[in-house]
Every structure is written in C-alpha cells, then in structure tokens.
C-alpha cells in the first residue's frame, strides 16, 4: 500500500465517522425528549458535519481524482464507507444515543489531541479546530451519561442496557492495521491502540460515577473502518441520507 492510498483511507475513516455519526445525531432533530436537548444534539450534529466537510475535502484532494467532499459523502455506497461500526448503530432511545455519543466522543477527543500535532499541517489544522468542538461534546455526553446512569432506576436500567449493547463496538476504534501503521510511521496519526489506555481510564472513571458496570468482555466486532463488513444499519441510513442526490443527480440549492 502506498503512502497516499493509506492517507486517503485514513481521511475517509475520519470523515466517515463524523458524517455517519453526525447524520445519526441529526435524526433526533425535532424529536428529542426536551427542547434544550434537541438544540444541543442538533449543534453536535452540525459540528460533526462541519468536520466531515474538512476531512472528506482533504481526502478528495489527496486522492487527486477530482472528487469533492460532497461526491464522497453522497455518491459512495455502503462498502466504500470507512466509519467504525459504533457510529452507524441506530439511535435507540435517548440514553442509547448518549451512550454511543460518549463512547465515541471520548475516543474522538483523545485522537484529535494527538492529530493536532500531526506532521501533516492540513491534518493538524483540521484537528486543532475540531478538538475545541469535541471537547465540549465529550463534556456534555459524559455529564448526561452520569446524570442518567446515576438517576432514577428507570434511567439507570436503560443506560446499563445501552452500555451492554454498545460495548462490543468499542474495540474497533482501537485496532491497528496496515493503514494505521503507515500513518504512524509517517507521523501523520497515532496508532489507535496507543489511545486505549487513556480511553479506558476516562471511561472507567465516568462509568463508576454513573454507577454503571462495564461489561467484562473484550469481544469486538470488526469490519466498519476497513469497509469489509458494515452492519445492516448503514445501508438503510444511506438510502435516507443520499436519497436526494441519487434521485436527482447534481441537484443544488
């Protein structure tokens, strides 16, 4: 694998994570349990879509085949997406959404802090901007996980169920492969496995405050960030997200 191929793959992973999760979170718009949460979730979704524009924009540039961020977002099919499986999991109830958000945000912020030191200036620039947004995301999702986990017995039960359901999707965020090896050798991005210890420490602290029990299992689904095997949910999501560009190719505002 050449450096540029690996770099393109890496950028798709970054941009597809924020795109897919951003779209998922935007599905709450108008449906959240209270007005304040509705607006907060929409803000988070918009932040993630904004980051997508930067990551996929750079991906298109690195690929050098004239594809824009919009082309990459709207005209690829499920098997070309490189987001982790966690990001594409359905929203479930509000607690499940916030649990997914926290598990992702905590990894996202640790990664962006490292990417802000990337040897590639463009990557460092995007990360420096995104890390401010994501620092707020993780603060908010952490507080909500704690509030609901250590809340009523009903909210506690739901948060524990969400943690149990999503835990098998955590491991994929920290696996290394040929792409990440080349990125690490080039000084562009850290090996994902190098972030695990800090993530574990933060998540253990949060879950203990939330009175939630972390499942005693290291099992991890794989296949999202390689595109090898996405879960069924991604295709359904894309039919909604890409519908307009598929039905009316080239449509503009």
């Amino acid at each position: 694998m050449t450096r540029d191929t690996a770099f393109f793959e890496f950028l798709l992973r970054m941009g597809d994570n924020t795109l897919v999760l951003g779209h998922r979170v935007s599905e709450w718009c108008g449906h959240a349990p209270v007005l304040e949460e509705d607006i907060a979730l929409a803000n988070t979704a918009l932040d993630l879509i904004g980051q997508t524009q930067m990551w996929l924009g750079l991906a298109g540039e690195v690929e050098g085949e004239g594809r824009s961020a919009d082309d990459l977002a709207m005209l690829r099919d499920a098997w070309d997406f490189r987001n982790v499986l966690l990001a594409e999991q359905p929203n479930g109830d509000f607690g499940q959404t916030m649990m997914r958000q926290y598990l992702f945000d905590q990894a996202h912020v640790l990664l962006l802090e490292k990417l802000a030191q990337s040897s590639d200036e463009r990557v460092a620039g995007i990360a420096a901007k995104a890390v401010k947004e994501v620092t707020y995301h993780v603060e908010r999702s952490r507080d909500t996980v704690i509030g609901l986990g250590d809340g009523t017995s009903e909210s506690h039960r739901r948060m524990q169920a969400a943690l149990d359901l999503l835990w098998p999707y955590v491991g994929e965020m920290f696996t290394d492969d040929e792409v990440s090896g080349i990125m690490a050798a080039e000084g562009i991005a850290p090996e994902p496995s190098s972030l695990r210890a800090a993530w574990d420490a933060a998540v253990q602290q949060t879950m203990s405050e939330a009175t939630l029990v972390i499942p005693d299992s290291g099992f991890a689904h794989a296949g999202g960030k390689t595109g090898f095997r996405h879960s069924e949910h991604l295709g359904h999501m894309l039919t909604q997200m890409q519908w307009l560009q598929r039905a009316y190719p080239g449509a503009r505002w």
Binding site: L35, I39, A40, N43, S153, E154, H156
Partner: protein, 112 residues
C-alpha cells in the same frame, strides 16, 4: 463487595413508568462580546446548574452572542408585584425636580 446495581434493587425486573418530573426553570443572562453587563436573554429548563450553563450555551450562544453566561434558578428571583405598580412607581411621575434639568452646567464640565 456489592455491585453498583445494588443501590437499585428494582432494576432488573420492574419496568415501571417513571413519574414525569419537570426540570426547574432557569433564567439566563449573557454578556455579549462588547457589552459591559450581563443581559437577560431568556429562560430554559435544566436538572442542575451545570446543565443549565450547558443548555444556555447551546440555546443562546449559537451565533456567537456571548463571552460569559450566568444562570439563576427562577424561583430565587424576587420580583415586584404588578399590582403594587401604583404606590411603587406613580409617586415619582410628579417629581420633575429629580431630573437634573434645573441648573446650568458650567462649560468646563463638558458633555455629561
């Protein structure tokens, strides 16, 4: 060692409907980029003061409106009663001499 779930003995088997509690109301004050004082911008609901600040950030500073947020729970605000309007405010209507318009201001003072 007891598990963290021990504090919630009814967790596994009882799927009861929780009572719907309304979060308390908070009044939000924001200091704008160039303003000198915090101004009341509106209100919102939140479970505690930390979340009230976060919600205020998300609801009232989306368009770069502020550099500082105050929140206060609405029940802590003491307010005058509209029915006391007469005795409270009308007496000052007839006291024009309270406005500083009855003496000349020396030139050297400049604009006041």
């Amino acid at each position: 060692m007891s598990s963290p779930n021990a504090a919630y003995p009814d967790t596994p088997d009882q799927a009861m409907k929780p009572k719907r509690h309304e979060w308390p109301l908070w009044e939000v004050f924001i200091r704008g980029q160039h303003g000198m004082s915090h101004r009341h911008v509106g209100s919102l609901h939140a479970p505690d003061q930390e979340m009230a600040i976060k919600n205020a950030r998300d609801v009232y500073t989306r368009r770069n409106e502020g550099v500082s947020i105050w929140v206060v729970e609405a029940r802590h605000i003491a307010a005058s009663s509209p029915s006391d309007k007469g005795p409270l405010y009308e007496p000052s209507e007839s006291k024009v001499y309270r406005h500083p318009t009855f003496f000349d201001i020396p030139e050297e003072v400049g604009a006041m």
